[in-house]
Amino acid sequence: MATRIIEWIDQRFPLTSFIKHELTDYPTPRNLGYWWNFGFLAGFVLMLQVVTGLFLAFHYKPDAAIAFDSVQHLMRDVNYGWLLRYMHATGASSFFLVIYIHMARTLYYGSYRAPRELMWWTGQVLLLLLMATAFMGYLLPWGQMSFWGATVITNLFRATPFIGDQVVVWLRGDYAVGDDTLTRFFALHYLFPFLIIGAVVIHLVALHSVKSSNPSGIDLADKDNIPLHPYYTSKDFFGLGVFLILYFIVVFFFPHSVLEPANNVPANPLITPDHIVPEWYFLPFYAILRSVPNMVGGVAAMALSVMIFAFMPFLDRSRIPGGGRYRPVYRIMFFLFMLDIAVLGYVGFVPPTNKTIAIGQVATVYYFGSFLLLPLISKVEDKWLFKRGLPAKIKTLIASEEEEKRKRRHR
């Protein structure tokens, strides 16, 4: 019976061949480490956010007069409403954590290199969409930090040339953040996940065309590939188990670590909180914003600090695959860059003093310096490594990569 149903479907829809092509026969490098779990995890967290978000929307009221109350009603009176909200709030932070690790892996192993530039760029679009979604979602509980965070960030759009003031009003739907802002942010917060899903589909179609990169950084011969299912599905599900343990420890035992105390005070346009801090995932960029004394410059620097990742395929001039794995200088740069981001995060978190502003400025210069000097450094490193003599293993890798490129051109 089951086979007959599948046959019936297959005559009308490529079900079996799709499963075969994308799952049971889909070739995946056998040498992928656990760092390659995070793409799957990101997809999982996306679904988690969509589902918990849907149920939250059943109870939430996007009206400035009752939004805060409706969240309290959800937390207190709705069955397991607290669980939904803590899962969604922890999910947002987890989403950024997973995405940042996913990006760090891509940077470390040089996975953004040809032929995966489009994956890197769709990923960049996903990051921007995620940031916008999280920012708008943060307004919805209508607490003090929601209100003032949205006020500060929408105000940055005044830096838009010529039409700055109009853009700010257009975003807020009013001269100040208020009821109109809340209602439109709710509508957009519900819309954006679907844009994210669309971008994820493009990301995945591109992936299944170029296939996964791997720690050695080149396309492997067929004998080194194994089917996605059951090998990587089993590995991904184990990784998911570990992720869920950590996630639910936060949800059940430390949910307040992801909710700012000031956000448990209803929004009040007349009282500014002592210290407005964004969520942790925006802190490094916020520090860059504050490091530039002039507002337009600060906004431009912050925008560039997010977008500059897109240039990596052009900035990295090395011919050696595998990124940090075979390139000692690049490896050191990678870890120093991670350290720099941590320093920026700290600077963004503490109230600004002369000392932290100075540290922030040095860290900002270092941040952009690591990108802008990369073409030079990667070239010099490349020359040095070739002169020193590459191990035979890497030489064959490079040769096979050249071969792959040639083949692709002829296809």
Binding site: Q72, R76, K235, G241, L244, I249, F252, A262
Partner: protein, 215 residues
């Protein structure tokens, strides 16, 4: 010379001020027992409810926590069991007396850095300054009077009583801010336990699947 002395003094004063503002919070352990809750609600109704509301807490929530219905009836007076624990003090009257509306306390434990420890330290932090004014170690400019009268209590027995009262009130307020905390934690142990077993099994599945590869 005089000016130097004055500025030194000023510096010293500022340092003391800064020090006072960063007074260390008392460590606070929430007592989640029904008896402590019962005493906490009672003390709250007597000492705080005149000024502060708990608009997100309903009298029936106390009943579902396990507090005696008759006790609740004695607190709520004419209000129904379904009504919120709002105060009778109007905003206008509060503004006239204090220049400020006393904040709703439903979320207060979650709405301050330091949480329950802060609220407890604040309540017990009142003292009499050398020039005879009432002040607070943790909120020097607060407009709230010393509701528990700890600053004027000199009798050690009385002080202990007040401190215990503050303890009960803050335990109650901690529950009010997060009424599902106990349920959350007990459910958490089951969920985490289940996930650990599941993950160990998944790890074994992974090992078994991958063992086919070793050729």
């Amino acid at each position: 010379m005089n000016r130097l002395f004055a500025s030194l003094l000023l510096c010293g004063f500022i340092i003391i001020q800064a020090f006072a503002a960063e007074e260390k919070l008392e460590d606070f352990q929430v007592d989640t027992s029904v008896i402590a809750m019962d005493r906490g609600v009672d003390a709250f109704m007597n000492s705080c409810h005149g000024c502060h509301s708990l608009k997100y807490v309903h009298y029936r929530d106390l009943a579902s926590f396990g507090i005696d219905k008759e006790r609740i009836a004695s607190w709520r007076g004419d209000s129904t069991l379904d009504s919120a624990m709002t105060s009778l003090l109007s905003d206008e009257a509060a503004l006239a007396s204090f220049g400020k509306v006393p904040p709703d306390l439903s979320m207060i434990v979650r709405a301050r850095e330091g949480g329950a420890s802060y609220v407890y330290s604040y309540l017990t932090g009142y003292y009499i300054t050398p020039d005879g004014k009432t002040s607070n170690h943790f909120f020097p400019l607060t407009r709230m009077p010393d509701a528990l009268e700890i600053s004027t209590a000199t009798d050690p027995v009385k002080r202990v009583e007040i401190i215990e009262q503050a303890h009960d009130i803050v335990s109650f307020l901690s529950w009010a801010a997060d009424p599902h905390e106990a349920e959350r934690k007990s459910l958490g142990y089951y969920v985490i336990g289940y996930l650990i077993i599941l993950t160990v099994l998944l790890y074994n599945v992974k090992l078994q699947v991958w063992s086919r590869l070793k050729s």
